[in-house]
Amino acid sequence: MTGAVSTADLVTWIRAFRDAVQQHKEELTALDSAIGDADHGSNLARGMDAVVAKLDTVPASPAELFKTVGMTLVSSVGGASGPLYGTLFLRMGPALATEGTVDAAALGAALRAGVEGVVARGKAEPGDKTMIDALLPALNAWDAAGDDLAAAARAAADAAAAGRDATEPLVARKGRASYLGDRSAGHVDPGAASSTLLIEALAATVAA
């Protein structure tokens, strides 16, 4: 699994993300307690459980898979993260071929379409202290890493983690944390933390 992934591999990624969310559920909720409303962990866990429940049979193509993931997240998560994560996947699907495997460039393009969708929906800019602050650096690192899928994913995951950590000192300008004004500084953004889990799960999957 160096150059390309099959739909089944992508399902493995999605399952790994669900496991990571479950494992870090309390941590995500604790982050959301500090600057939000204490539900980000349970929101995403509920959504990813719903997603995995739909993946007993592997979808026909990556496009199909991402459509299922996106629709399920939209219809089961709610909150801010539901439409945003939902949009991420809903936009990834159409960017991919409906058959065969997916290489680094294709997956990078799909991710870009997804993240652009998130920006279009949520109107967040870099530095607003949102999931964008993990996703955008990840994307840029991916593109810079070149053709090797595992290397691209690894670079993206590291960049996401760095982006996540960099949200800590920021004053939030979007989402619920923005109500806190200056008091939002000093806490990592929960959505940036969960997005990092997503990219990290991808890196782990393609490295396996």
Binding site: T29, A38, D39, S76, G79, A80, G82, P83, G181, R183
Partner: protein
Amino acid sequence: MKKFVNDPADVLAEALIGIQAIHPELRIDTENRVILRAEPTRPGKVALVSGGGSGHEPMHGGFVGRGMLDAAAAGEVFTSPTPDQVLAATQAADSGAGVLHIVKNYTGDVLNFEMAAELAEAEGVRVASVVVADDVAVQDSTYTAGRRGVGTTVVLEKIVGALAEEGADLDAVAVLARRVADSGRSMGVALTSCTVPAAGRPTFELPEDEMEVGVGIHGEPGRSRVPLASAREVARMLVDPIVHDFGDPVGPAIVLLSGLGATPLIEQYLLYGEIAPLLADAGVDVQRVLVGDYITSLDMAGASLTVVKADDEMLRLWDAPVVTPGLRWGA
């Protein structure tokens, strides 16, 4: 966590079972978690649909009924409903005359209602939306998510519900809704945190001698934490920012003081006794007032004050009959 719950994951589903048992005049779509009037919307009547995270009872489900909402979508605790839920509520409530979405200004609510409106319009339902953003604790700015929506929502649902009941069309209903939304300001204070059942512990820690001023109704921390103060001082902390934000003299107004869930009525009475003279001093001419639990934050101890500038039409519509679990008069 001391609560009347079974599995925290089932809180919403089980609360809906209770609502159905208590209120035969409502109909619950359990699959979509939508609360509707038992009677379908009268043909030609514009439908009012709201919704949001649960944990704010009686809002919104408790305001479904004659003279107020036609349907409410109930999200998980503190989590705005999904587009599917709002779509189901919208389609079920539409009589063909169109639907007004009443949305509180939280990113989640706005995004989910937006997606739902797109889906509904694709299905041929006319949808207009009003966003309530009345919480003066939050600095307003075009670069941020803006202000939160709080108590003005309840006042809006009552007034605009009465107009819809009179047979006004969607445009007129939407215009009035925006006028009411623009006329309201709110400010809240918490003495304790709430506890989200799924989280199992208080959202924030608040020492015995401190309180949160400008707290949100989802346990979002407030703008500042100050030493615990007397009711007299708290009244000032609620009234001053509202009056200041209005700028101009307010004149005739509808006032709502809502407990946040764990504050008993006797304290709300006492607090309002301190608020009333401050409002009078500030030129707020209180024409109507409600004190009680209308928009809550689970088991938070605290209160939220809302002042809505009201003209004669708004007062007339306020006085029109309403028959809902949470507000009832005239019938």
